[in-house]
């Protein structure tokens, strides 16, 4: 599992670096443009692929496996298979990202991994996922805790949406605009259901555990789980898409109905932490988780607002969507997983949680928080500004672009802060691994 996490973090750093590079290109369009390998379009696809498939999936899966072990009071089934699966996955992602930079991207958002990569990824996932299934199966017969449902949900959801997208986009390409429908559906399911479930599983686990209080309501969590499963993936079509009205309306209804799980989750956590807010600053894991959950709330609300026809007429195809993605990926998922890793890694390495370097930890937290905020807010302002200006036909397109340059350039600062925070995290992580190795070596030396 450490392989999963270690590699995930490396990919996160790489993805963020690529994102920073692309952001810098707005300051100087000629930056690194002479070679095709680092042109904006390819870097964008590579960044997306390395974040989603290099970081998000392995991190989510690793977290899921760990939670299944913990909550099932059992050990991981088939750890060697998981290890091999992680190696295969990472090799596939490495080759895939390199392939994208060489021009092999599929052209579909969120599904850029080259076609030849997809079966390898699927195979690697199956290896790891089946181990997860067996781990779940060998759990102690107790009442299932919400995190377990979310984990099983996420582990189950990913191969299904991935294979559907692979079949409909790559193997037997659907005709015409149905490709776009599938791609949008996949993106929505990936973000809202897969990442959502994984992050929420972490929140549902760590918040009650570290506060030492029980989760407020099992039934409320179940209600939230099923309504999120139902409506979370039931949408994703932009209002202006070239699709018949019924598809757009159906998507809108599904998106609006995600209000219900949001309310249920917020209520559940509010009741759980209500009288213990003074512990907010006590634990670093909790800080990350709270912030992550807060950003999840903002992002989910933004998703609903952005789907409304009156708003989407202005915000569709602007930086608004990019801001939302930034918030979901970095603000919610990366932060929540960071917090989780700060707990999980010492536990896996059998080190005390104080083994982290606290200075680096603080830098990680604050830089990431500030970075996400700056990035998100400036992209949001750029998006809304772009939309409002474009709605006035008196503004030519290039004028509008120039006027949104300023907030866009500010978002580069945000990207930079995020990159630094991740580098720091990776350094901290490496430090922990080295400590563990040293301990192991010392213990072995003593035994001799």
């Amino acid at each position: 599992m450490m392989t999963l996490f270690g590699s995930a973090l490396t990919w996160l750093l790489l993805a963020s670096l690529l994102g920073l590079l692309n952001s810098l290109k707005f300051h100087a369009p000629g930056l690194l443009a002479s070679q095709p390998y680092l042109s904006y379009g390819r870097v964008h696809a590579a960044q997306s692929a390395s974040f989603l498939y290099g970081f998000a999936v392995p991190a989510a899966v690793g977290l899921g496996l760990w939670l299944l072990c913990r909550l099932g009071r059992t050990t991981l089934a088939g750890p060697t298979i998981v290890f091999v699966g992680a190696i295969v996955w990472n090799t596939a992602v490495t080759l895939g990202v390199a392939g994208i930079l060489c021009g092999g991207s599929t052209g579909y958002e969120y599904f850029e991994m080259p076609a030849w990569c997809v079966p390898i990824l699927f195979l690697a996932y199956l290896m790891i996922g089946l181990c997860g299934l067996f781990t779940f199966h060998q759990r102690q017969p107790e009442r299932l805790y919400p995190s377990q449902w979310f984990v099983v949900g996420a582990l189950f959801w990913f191969p299904w949406i991935f294979s559907t997208a692979a079949l409909t986009l790559l193997c037997m390409p659907a005709r015409g605009v149905l490709q776009a429908t599938t791609a949008w559906w996949y993106a929505r399911n990936f973000d809202t259901v897969f990442l959502g479930f994984a992050g929420l599983a972490s929140a549902f686990y760590f918040i009650p555990k570290l506060l030492g209080r029980p989760l407020h309501s099992h039934y409320l969590a179940a209600f939230a789980f099923w309504t999120l499963a139902l409506f979370g993936g039931f949408g994703g079509m932009p209002e202006s898409a070239p699709l018949p009205l019924w598809i757009i309306s159906l998507s809108l209804v599904g998106t609006v109905l995600t209000v219900v799980p949001i309310l249920a989750i917020v209520l559940n956590f509010y009741e759980t932490v209500r009288h213990h807010l003074n512990m907010l600053d006590a634990d670093h894991v909790l800080r990350f988780t709270y912030v992550g959950l807060f950003f999840w709330l903002i992002a989910s609300v933004q998703q609903i607002i952005g789907a409304l026809p009156s708003v989407s007429g202005i915000t569709d195809f602007t930086w608004f969507g990019a801001a939302q993605k930034e918030l979901v990926h970095y603000g919610f998922f990366a932060m929540t997983l960071s917090g989780a890793l700060y707990y999980i890694v010492p536990s896996l390495l059998k080190l005390p949680t104080s083994a982290w370097c606290p200075k680096l930890l603080r830098v990680h937290f604050w830089f990431m928080l500030l970075g996400v905020l700056i990035s998100y807010l400036s992209l949001l302002v750029a998006g809304i500004g772009q939309g409002v200006l474009l709605a006035n036909t008196g503004n030519s397109f290039i004028e509008v672009m120039l006027r949104t340059m300023m907030p866009l350039r500010m978002s580069t600062l945000g990207d930079l802060l995020v990159v630094v925070s991740i580098a720091v995290f990776l350094a901290n992580f490496a430090g922990m691994v080295m400590q563990s190795c040293r301990q192991c070596w010392l213990a072995r030396k003593e035994a001799l």
Partner: protein, 200 residues
């Protein structure tokens, strides 16, 4: 992870548990209300789940109406409505008429005359006495419709019958019916009177 019996591991620290507060009723209500809103929204905005309805249109009819309309086709459609409402009872849906009830319209030289002045008067004022249609005499009575239909509707039905059942005749404009209404006297027409009206 040590390689002990998988079912007997109990890691340090307790795992979180969940209490059993029930889902608040207001949340269920909100869910229900939103679901209801969703159904209403889809009824209004899903375009009948038709593949031809794209925003901003709302129904297949909207789309059809927004497409360039053929005014003659519209008139014929309206005329058919009038015919099916009234004329079909005597003149039949086949336009062949019925022995003892009404002469045929299909292939009738009266219907297909170059100008529609005569048939306009027939529809407006009705007909009594003998009339020769397609070589056969019919001695029947037709009711007057000048008080039941306006010029547009009568023009529409005349356009309709002139294009049905193989009839070849151009559309009749409402002006023709209007002048026929003005010039003719109320009271049934007779064949002799009508034959005096020029239709070339």
């Amino acid at each position: 992870m040590n390689a002990d019996d998988p079912k007997k591991i109990d890691p340090s620290g307790s795992e979180p548990v969940a209490e059993s507060w029930s889902v608040p009723i207001w949340l269920i209500l909100i869910f229900g209300l939103l679901f209801y809103w969703g159904q209403l929204f889809l009824a209004e905005n899903a375009g009948g789940f038709s593949k031809d309805v794209y925003g901003p249109f709302h129904s297949d009819d909207d789309v059809a109406n927004a497409n360039p309309q053929d005014p003659e086709a519209k008139m014929r459609a309206e005329g058919k409505r009038v015919f099916d409402n009234t004329c079909v009872l005597c003149h039949q849906a086949t336009g062949l008429g019925k022995e003892g009830t009404a002469p045929p319209l299909a292939g009738s030289e009266w219907v297909q005359a170059a100008k529609g002045d005569r048939i306009a008067r027939i529809v407006l004022n009705g007909l009594t006495g003998t009339i020769n249609v397609k070589g056969q005499d019919y001695n029947l009575t037709m009711l007057a419709w000048r008080d039941n239909y306006n010029d547009d509707q009568i023009a529409a039905v005349l356009t309709y019958i002139r294009s049905q059942w193989g009839n070849k005749g151009g559309p009749i404009t409402p002006d023709v019916v209007k002048s026929a209404r003005a010039e003719s006297h109320p009271g049934p027409e007779t064949s002799d009177e009508l034959l005096k009206i020029p239709v070339q």
